[in-house]
Symmetry: C2
Subunit: 547 residues, 2 copies
């Protein structure tokens, strides 16, 4: 044997090989920091010892009710301690956590319950009307139902009803005090099942494994420069990529997680003042909220507050505005298929001396790979080669790493397509700047092709955002007999502003090439997903019906 050349002599054993799993983090938090505050939600407050106990109880109760390795436990809930606990308790039982988007229609919920083969469903009663309908539609009356009854949400309950055999608290009490949970034998074991937002067609079920979520945490700590015990406000919905994995990350750091049911500018500023929030995350729509907050809603703060933003490329003007309020913003990029963020706009010290405007422009780029991301390319779709780093040539973002999904559940074709050539295909289009930082220009399907010229809808939108009256802008293709497609803009205006179509078109013509200028403008409130993304497919349908 020469240094165990073929790795056959010195095999892994329980002393030197432990499957990577985010479940290890909560055990360490409980062992070392049992008395530290783990969760705060209104008048409810827990320590890490208590949270650990409740997660173990949940695991025990699930096992007691027949849950076995690989079974799916679904939960539809607001960001509350129960949803946090599910991120540990469900996998502690060996099961797979399926968090369902609370804003979905009952038809889609029914589809998910059927496709995921959900065994147990935990429902926040606030969402019971849609769930009740979904259960009828899905013909899945065999699902065991548990209700979360949130007394702090009582005021808003309309049409809510208990669906299940018992309440969540009663379910926890049904647990076995001697229950022992175990790490998975294999770090490749499924941990979570997250359905894509489904901008077209049925949502796809994205499977995460324990290894990926462990490494997501480690890479996030390095990339976001987390240290000490952060106080994290959970503004990102936890049903979205498991809230970017931050539940697991906060356990790794024995931080404190603060929840609030409704994310408003006032709620965020209040939390900063009341709890000393140091970190939160949110789509650009959350940043806009902060920038557009009234004086009455705002509160000043004098400790550093770091914000991770993702979900859509934020306009530089919003980044600059939120920076001026004292927030340190880092833009990140990722997809459900990559456990959330895998690309970050890593700051460089040489940018410190630039003007706020220049800094905001740099921050509006998506950037470079996170420490756990092993490969990031922008690939020319025609040649299959990396595009030149010139800030002009557009290509598809492709990703490689341990925080790329196992694949799509029961969808081998889509899985094979996503992994073609050994890289994950994002369907997002970007350019690479001279310093290697990438900048997203569009979704593959959002590109507008007018007279043979590619028009980036994001570029047109960024121009529209510079107009003082524009609050939200979305540009989509409209069929045109002469040009094939032409850009059409949907605009949501700021309160107490007014603006004409002619004025907007003239404004665009000043800043954009003629062929990029929208040919028609529609003023309206725009349909958005729960993460603040404008639902362009709805706008495209509307365009068709108008044409």
């Amino acid at each position: 044997m020469k240094t165990d050349k073929d790795n056959s002599e010195l095999m892994p054993n329980p002393a030197n090989h432990v499957p990577l799993s985010p479940l290890s983090f909560i055990e360490r938090a409980k062992d070392i920091y049992p008395e530290r505050t783990s969760l705060i939600y209104g008048s409810r407050k827990y320590t890490w010892a208590q949270t650990y106990k409740r997660c173990t109880q949940l695991a025990s109760a699930l096992s007691h009710h027949g849950i076995q390795k690989g079974d799916v436990v679904s939960i539809i809930a607001a960001n509350t301690p129960e949803l946090f606990e599910a991120h540990f308790g469900v996998p502690m039982s060996g099961a797979v956590l399926n968090t369902i988007n609370t804003r979905l229609d009952s038809d889609t919920i029914a589809y998910i319950l059927e496709h995921a083969e959900t065994k147990i469903l935990i429902t926040d009663t606030i969402f019971s009307p849609a769930v009740k309908e979904a259960l009828i539609l899905s013909n899945r009356q065999d699902i065991l139902l548990i209700d979360i009854v949130d007394t702090q949400a009582e005021g808003e309950a309309q049409g809510t009803v208990k669906l299940g055999m018992m309440d969540y608290e009663g379910f926890l009490e049904s647990s076995d005090p001697d229950y022992n949970w175990f790490l998975p034998n294999d770090e490749w074991q499924s941990l979570a099942l997250n359905y894509t937002s489904g901008t077209s067609g049925r949502p796809k079920g994205v499977l995460y494994h324990h290894r990926g979520s462990y490494l997501m945490t480690m890479g996030t700590v390095l990339g976001w420069e987390l240290s000490g015990h952060p106080v994290y406000l959970y503004t990102v919905p936890m049903f979205h990529c498991n809230g970017w994995g931050h539940a697991w990350t906060m356990a790794a750091l024995a931080g404190t997680v603060v929840f609030c049911r409704h994310i408003t500018a006032k709620a965020i500023f209040n939390s900063i003042a009341d709890h000393g929030i140091t970190h939160f995350g949110g789509a650009p729509v959350v940043l806009s909220m902060l920038v557009n907050a009234t004086d009455e809603e705002r509160q000043s703060f004098n400790h550093p507050v770091k914000v991770m933003t993702a979900g859509a490329p934020p306009p530089a003007s919003i980044l600059e505005g939120v920076q001026n309020l004292g927030f340190e913003v880092m833009q990140v990029y990722g997809l459900t298929e990559t456990y959330g963020h895998v690309v970050q706009c890593a700051w460089k010290q040489e940018w410190d001396h630039l003007s706020p405007g220049e800094q905001a422009s740099l921050k509006a780029r998506q950037g470079v790979r996170f420490p756990m991301t092993e490969g990031l390319r922008v690939v020319c779709l025609e040649t299959g080669k990396d595009v030149p780093q010139n800030g002009q040539a557009m290509g598809e973002i492709q990703i490689r790493g341990n925080t790329v999904m196992k694949g799509y559940l029961k969808n081998p074709d889509a899985t094979a397509e996503a992994f073609e050539g050994g890289w994950f295909h994002s369907s997002d289009l970007a350019v690479v700047h001279a310093d290697g930082y990438i900048e997203i220009k569009d979704r593959l399907k959002d590109i507008i092709i007018s007279g043979g010229e590619n028009i980036s809808s994001v570029e047109v939108e960024n121009t529209l955002y510079k107009h003082p009256a524009v609050a939200v802008a979305a540009v989509v293709a409209k069929q045109d007999d002469k040009w094939g497609e032409v850009p059409c803009a949907f605009l949501e205006l700021k309160p107490d502003t007014a603006c004409s179509e002619e004025e907007i078109i003239a404004f665009c013509r000043e800043h954009l090439a003629g062929f990029k200028t929208p040919k028609s403008i529609i003023f309206d409130i725009l349909p958005k997903t729960s993460t603040g993304k404008v639902q362009k497919f709805l706008l495209r349908e509307r365009i068709k019906s108008i044409s």
Copy 2:
């Protein structure tokens, strides 16, 4: 298929599974921070782009000279850029890095070269006299030899001579500019081979794998709360557990590593002033050096400087002294077999208000597991059960995790013994305090059994350190007809102090139980390993020859 229950349907592929390896870190540092300073050594200074290039050149030259996967490349060198480069260049070629302790005698070096089956040996010419002799003793004239000629070390060269076919710089130039290195196919592949210090018998060859060193870095960043780009002074010898893995960690953070050939108080204070050092590590002997520095040697600083200390339990008085100088010290514990530190004295906010003396006492404990350490127990050797958390009951420290060695090279018996029962056996004895923090009391073989009572040599040493004249203390067992064993103390006194045997014994009697008081005191300069550990086996031999 239900959520890929048996993990068979959705198999790993190149897009979603990349072997964990610290080699990924330097590629990212080069990609994102090519112009940042990587290494500083006297007048030599490199960027991450340059360091990456030199590492790749080293890998190419090794391949060109026949090195294949699993071959051993040994290096005996001071902490210089070449030794840092070897930490990347050697594994980039697929080979295993064997760093040899520069203070070893030629007989032991010969043993290592034979046992490791070294293919190429890189020698810092300062150490050529011992290496030359070792080559003759080992009958390994087939080893290909490369010399590091360090012009900045010229003044001290005595008897140095070039041994090899070419100099290191010429070797790098022999590389192929088109060489492509690859990550290992298997993260379990051997990365490094480190020989134990061999306090008794022949040293054992400890094998590390890529997975372990990757996770060591991640855990170190979390546990030591590293963020930004640290400026790290490499005071820990890199031949010792690969310098606690900090070469790889600094690449992960694109930090700056500063080297100096001779670690003195003056050199450390100068580096802090000249380069803005933010972090370094060192055995307690380095801390003593700082505390005992003259006013002339000291320089003040006003930025935070964090120090990781390990290698021997530091006396609370030294911890308090170094804290008073402005350093933030964290004690850690580990062994060659655990890639270095796996236990840390994690600070708790509730200790902030304690007196400096109380804080130093808490910091003198080894503490709790690092984030990458999956299990830490203190086990009663008689019952095999965890000892109670009472600060009294002593047991053996046992460890489980991914930063535990693959095993000992060509030593299946020692490997099996070390991993018995699925835990790594440290042979160190500790107690567990009520808060779960462990405190080392002794090495298993350092315990003194006197009249049936166990005496912790560390406890007696800590008492001796409280005497104002004592600089270094070591207590070992002396055979005694009546009691079996009695404690005997070896003392090194501070400069310009004097003290009698009677005075020391009286001092101990005041602070210790009678049976723990040393029965004889020997004043001398004590023999130490390169990492500052007193070589007790030499003291024991001396005791025998006196008796």
